[in-house]
Each structure stands twice: as structure tokens, then as C-alpha cells.
Symmetry: C2
């Protein structure tokens, strides 16, 4: 794909929050934009846990990238895997297109890489088979099938001990996603009571396992404690100062702060810990000689460019940003950071490079029905007001009027009927 008419070609890799923000912010720029992604949709990952617990259907949080960009005439979408970069020749190398003869390389004038992150298993990749993660739509659907199947198995099971293990759920990692997931499983267990005849789903135990001494470590300690109390009222047992040392098909092995080991029989483990950068960070580091940190994140300049490559930008969860004074900025791995960085890159492309500055608008996590915690510009909220704020913000950032309306209706139904509408077990 060579540039025929002299219009600069910007290639953006990754259609998550950061990449998509960059593409959209270039809508009036005199450039041609190609967005490359392996998936044909933008995933609204903050609600993936609701797909995993049957509250939402997959399509409601997955909007086709072509649909989002159909009116942006300077943008096109290419469904492809990026397998490498040749920075000297300004080429993105593509693999695995679903077709016969196609471009194997995409040439660019400017490159923006926004590959995001995944949950990492601390080097224990064998745990992945027993503990799906929540960053991808597939992970969320796999978890939904497992969680719902566990209740089905409990209903059929004759042995009491084994029934208990089917009704025990372990969530690893008490960040916002882990907290939300644990709360939802506990609520699901209560809601399902009416639907089962033999198993009492209210006997379900939900453990929330966290190596730190409190949940939601990115929030002020006071809000963490309120979140812990709200979780306990829902039936979640936070296990703080506790780390995971093993996961198998029928148990999770824990180590407590005092060194004591414990084996908890469970069939369902949710993984929401140990964020690790996209492999694209490593590919860019390899191609340029740039550094990566312990989590695999690429170290980029204060203006988000790759060291020595002012035409290459990287952003979002897969990078760590050097501060102008030296050192590395500590930015949370959340959607607002990626979106602000995407817009900053678009600004740099249009008006010349400038250092990125994050404007922290606040921090939100929901815990269960009508409960949440919020820390907005120093104002701390919890309970119902925080939950309403959470609802409004998530609906506002969800892409597309249709999905907003459908999700709003699903939530209204859930709130009124104390049920959830997408309890499909896929084979």
C-alpha cells in the first residue's frame, strides 16, 4: 500500500481505546489513516466482566471498527496480525490474513502503535487453562460458560464436598476488574436461587485473592475499606496479603502473609492480575533497540515517540512514559490514559510533537447492585451516588447509540427483576 498522491500515510496498530482515539482525532487532518487490528471490533473492556457474568451479550460491548469509522473518509480498516516492524524502511509486517494474495507489508510515513496489555500469569502459563482472564471477549465468554456450568454441575452433583467445590469461586486480583467480578458472581449466585431446585446457590463462596493488604490499591485507603465492607455484605470474602502459588482443575493453592499454605477446593478461577504489555512492545523494542521494563512495557519519550524514531509513537498500556525530568511517569492502566495519549499523538502529528501530560479525572469502581466507590478530583463518593456516576460515565463512553440504549435497558431489567438476560453457555 504505497502513498499514491503524496498525502502522508499514518498507520495505527490497535483499535482499543488509545488507537481509536488517535484515528478519530485525525479525522480532519490532511493524512490518510489505516487502522490495523486482529479483531474486527473495538471492545469496551471495562464491561467485559458483565459479559462474563451473563448481564450483557457480547455484541453489546463489541462495536465493529468499520462501523465506527464508516463516515471518516480519510480512514480505512485492515483486519490483520502485525508480526514485526522494519523501522528503517518504514514498514509494518503483516501475517496471517485470511486470504490468498495480499500485502505482506504496510508502508507508513508515521506509525502509531497501541497494542494494549493482557493479564499475565507471572510465568505460570499452565494456569491459563484453569483460570481464564478478562481482557478479551473470548476470555469473558469462556468465563461465562464456566461460571454458569459450575452452578449446573452443583445442581447435578450428589457428593456434598464436591458440590461445595463447584459452588466455590476464586477471583485473583482485587483491582477494579477483580472487585467488580467478585461482586457480580456473588449477586449472580443469589439471583439464581429461584432457578435451581437441588443446589442452594446462596451457599456459593466467592474468594477475592489479593497480594496487597487492601482491595483497590489505586484508590485512597478509606475507599478500599468501604469497598471491602460492601463486598463482605454481598457475600464475597476478601483474602488480603495472600498470594497464589498454584492453580489446578479442582483447587487453588494459596500462601498467606505468615507463610502458611492453604489449598481451597474450587472448579472456577477468574484471573484478573499481573498485567503484561502486548507483544508489540517487544517487537518495537527489538526493531529499535529501545528498552522495556519488567512488565514488558516499552519505554517511550515524554512525547510518546520511540527513542531515535520521531515518526513512531507508542501509547497506552504497552508503554511506560519517561518524564521530562528523567525517571518514568507512573500512569494507571486505564482507558482515560490511553484515550488522552491517542489524542495527544494526533495533536503531535498535526502541530508538532509536545510532551504528554495526563489529566487525572478520577477513579471509579462498582461493587454490586447500586454500590460503587469513586474518587473524582479529590471528592470521594461511595454507595448509590458513586454508582449513578459509574452508570452515567460508562454509558457515555460506550460507543454507538444502539449499544448505549441496549445496555441501559439490560441494566434496567437487571435492576428491576434481579436477573440477567445473557446466560448462554457456549459449547
Amino acid at each position: 500500500m504505497t502513498v499514491a498522491d503524496g498525502t502522508p500515510h499514518v498507520v495505527v496498530v490497535g483499535g482499543g481505546f488509545g488507537g481509536l482515539a488517535a484515528v478519530r482525532a485525525l479525522r480532519r487532518a490532511p493524512v490518510r489513516v489505516t487502522l490495523v487490528d486482529r479483531r474486527n471490533f473495538h471492545l469496551f473492556q471495562p464491561l467485559a466482566y458483565q459479559v462474563a457474568t451473563g448481564a450483557l451479550s457480547a455484541a453489546e460491548i463489541a462495536t465493529p471498527l468499520r462501523q465506527i469509522l464508516r463516515r471518516q473518509r480519510n480512514a480505512s480498516v485492515l483486519l490483520a496480525d502485525v508480526v514485526g516492524f522494519e523501522l528503517a524502511r518504514r514498514l509494518v509486517l503483516l501475517g496471517d490474513l485470511p486470504t490468498g494474495e495480499h500485502d505482506r507489508a504496510l508502508s507508513y510515513d508515521s506509525l502509531v502503535v497501541a497494542g494494549g496489555s493482557a493479564y499475565g500469569y507471572f510465568g505460570h502459563d499452565d494456569w491459563a487453562a484453569f483460570a481464564p482472564e478478562l481482557k478479551s471477549l473470548e476470555g469473558a465468554l469462556a468465563l461465562r460458560s464456566r461460571i454458569l456450568s459450575a452452578f449446573e454441575a452443583a445442581e447435578a452433583e450428589l457428593d456434598d464436598g464436591r458440590r461445595r467445590s463447584w459452588l466455590t469461586f476464586a477471583v485473583v486480583g482485587a483491582g477494579p476488574t477483580g472487585v467488580e467480578m467478585a461482586g457480580q458472581i456473588a449477586e449472580l449466585a443469589r439471583e439464581l436461587r429461584r432457578s435451581f431446585r437441588r443446589a442452594d446457590t446462596r451457599d456459593a463462596r466467592v474468594l477475592l485473592i489479593e497480594a496487597a493488604d487492601r482491595v483497590l490499591t489505586s484508590f485512597p485507603p478509606g475507599l478500599s475499606r468501604r469497598a471491602e465492607r460492601a463486598l463482605e455484605r454481598l457475600g464475597v470474602t476478601p483474602r488480603l496479603d495472600t498470594s497464589v502459588v498454584g492453580i489446578g482443575p479442582a483447587a487453588i493453592e494459596l500462601r498467606h502473609a505468615d507463610g502458611r499454605l492453604e489449598s481451597v477446593p474450587t472448579r472456577t478461577v477468574v484471573w484478573a492480575a499481573g498485567v503484561t504489555a502486548s507483544p508489540l512492545a517487544g517487537l518495537l523494542a527489538e526493531a529499535s533497540g529501545a528498552e522495556t521494563d519488567r512488565a514488558g512495557r516499552l519505554l517511550v519519550e515524554p512525547d510518546l515517540t520511540l527513542p531515535g524514531h520521531p515518526e513512531v509513537f507508542a501509547l497506552g498500556d504497552m508503554v511506560a512514559v519517561r518524564s521530562s525530568g528523567g525517571g518514568v511517569q507512573q500512569l494507571p492502566g486505564v482507558a482515560p490514559v490511553a484515550m488522552q495519549q491517542g489524542r495527544a499523538v494526533a495533536r503531535s502529528l498535526r502541530r508538532g510533537r509536545e510532551p504528554f501530560r495526563y489529566r487525572d479525572k478520577g477513579n471509579l469502581a462498582t461493587i454490586g447492585r447500586a454500590k460503587a466507590v469513586a474518587d473524582v478530583q479529590g471528592v470521594r463518593l461511595s454507595g448509590f451516588p458513586a454508582w449513578v456516576l459509574w452508570l452515567v460515565i460508562h454509558l457515555a463512553y460506550l460507543i454507538g447509540f444502539q449499544n448505549r440504549l441496549l445496555v441501559f435497558l439490560r441494566w434496567t431489567f437487571s435492576y428491576v427483576t434481579r436477573g440477567r438476560g445473557a446466560r448462554v453457555i457456549h459449547r
Copy 2:
């Protein structure tokens, strides 16, 4: 699961239209009902083609059986595979529960088997890999991914001939499902035009392949011809008097009425032909010595009982019903037949057995945006009035107020925006 208190135990196998109708019609009967299904949901199969073309999301046509029956206190649900029957001991044999120790057999006083049907490949099971079918949710989701991926591949493809093969779609079987599917693919191709930049999706060709000399053979010939004209206006090419002799990864081989062979390059084949009865029909025939017909359907008595077993009923697509005068009733394989049979079985269980009589309420098929054909008690409709009738009836029979409202909204959005909201390609 033995009957402790002397209440008769009715086991119903299959939670499709027929089985579910039987269970619900027993809601006030002095019996205990166990509904056994391999899947945790009732699939509204008449709309599966809309999932396959991205108009609806899976959960909108898949309602959890437990949810449907949560208030019916005499009914319970068991998620299990039925692997056989021991009629002398009145046992249903279960396999493959997702758990350790569980009942391997379910004893009954009365048994109702409603296993439904699948599309059969006329003995060419190797075609299934290239031509998914539309009876199951998995088939519909597989087709959605294939159809959407074909457009993506056409966009990336450099070779003109190959691009044409990616933009050629073949639908085998011109019954209502095949007609609806072909119409929807043609409409999808037009709608996608705005979303693609290189491939002109309006070049898409949709072939509708049918061995008979007209589409919709269950309708009067006049309505078939109107449907053919409507399909042609949408861009569908009906290939009548044509049979399939081969399907591979890149072509479909056809034989015309005059014996001429033709190979059409295509990457996407949809299978909607050759209905074959559920394997449960064969298992019941084996257990009882009853006959099956050429399509694998079990021959049952006029009152839907298994010959020689007045306590065992079978119904729906998996049976052929003997008429009281001898011979076999020709009943269409549609939801209303199964539902009426399910209710008839429930009546027989409550008040004594009586012959089943089908009340034909009519026949409906939709073709595309605001077009349908209807044959209702001899009144023949086509175009917009038939389409409105189709909409109202499908919404009315869809289970659950939430799904009705969501599907209605999706259809409204599609109608107004000429787009569709569930275009997710699953990996």
C-alpha cells in the same frame, strides 16, 4: 432420582419448541417434571439466520431454560446428554455431565422425547467443514464469522478473481431458512458498502441453490414466484433444478437439470437443506423395535406414543405420525407443529390419550427489508403487509419480554439506519 412421594414423574427430553410446550402445559398437572437438555437455553431457531448475518446477538434468541421455568414449581431442569433408553426399566440413560458423581440414569413414569432435527449433508459429512448449518447457535455464530470474514478478505485481496470468489456466497436449500438467509446476505452486502474502501461489496453475488423447480415449495406456486422476483431484486440469483455434488474450501460443484456440471468459485457456503431427525429417534427405535423412515424419523402412533409403549411419547421434527386410517401424516417441520404436539401430549397425560390433529395456522417467510410472503388460512399476502405480520408473530413467540424489546429495538435500528448491530467475528 426416584419418586419419593408417589407423584408421577414425567421426564421431558429436549427444550426446543415441542418439549418446552409440553413442560409448560403440565404446569398445573399433579406431576413432577424434569426437563433434560444438553444446552442451558431454548433457542428461537427461526431467527438464527439473523444471528448469522449480524442483525441479532446470540443471547437475544437464546433464553435460559431455568429462567423460563423458574416459577413453575413442579418443573426442574437437568443439563445432560441423553445417551440411551431402557424402556423395560423406565430409565433414561445420561452421559457426560460436567461433574464427578451424579445420577447416570433418570427413572420416569412417563417419558416425552422431543429431540428435534438437524440439517443433514446427504451422507457427505465432509461438506460440513465448508458449509455450516443454521439449526444450532454454534452454526449461526460460525456462519457469522465466515460471512463477515469473507468481506474482510475481499478488502485485503489483491487478485481480482480471488476477490470475486470471496464475494460469492452460496446458500443451499430454498426453504424459508435458505430464502431468508440469501436475502439477508444480499442486504448485508449493500449495507456494508459504506464501511469498505477497496472492495465494492455491492459486487457480491448470492446464489440460492435448490433441487426443486421453485423456492419455498411448502407455499403455493404463486407466492414462490413472487418470492423469486423479490429475491432477484435484492441481488440474489435463484438456481433452481440444481443440485450440489461437491463442496470444497474454494468452490461448490453443481449439477443442473440437464446433467451439465458447473464449478462456482466461492469461499462461503451456507447449508440449509436435507433435514435429518435427532439421533434420539434412532435410540428410541433401537430400544423399542419401532420403525424409522428415510429421514431417520421415528414412526409414532396417532396419539404420538411409541408403538407398544403408551407411557412414551415422541414429537416434533424427529417423528412421523401415523394417521388413524393407516399411512403417515405429512406434517411440516416447523415450530407450530412441535408446539401443538407438546401441548397435545400434556393433554394426553392429564386426561387420557387421544389422536393428535394439526391445526395449520399458515406459513410465513421473510425475504428482506420490508418484504415477506404469507399464506394464512388460504389468504395469500406478500410485500409489506406480510412482513408486518411476520414481525408481529415472531416477536409474539419469542420468549421473554426483555428479548422481545431488545429484538424489536435492533430491528428498528436496522430499518432506520440500514445497518446491523451485532457484526462480531469470533475467533
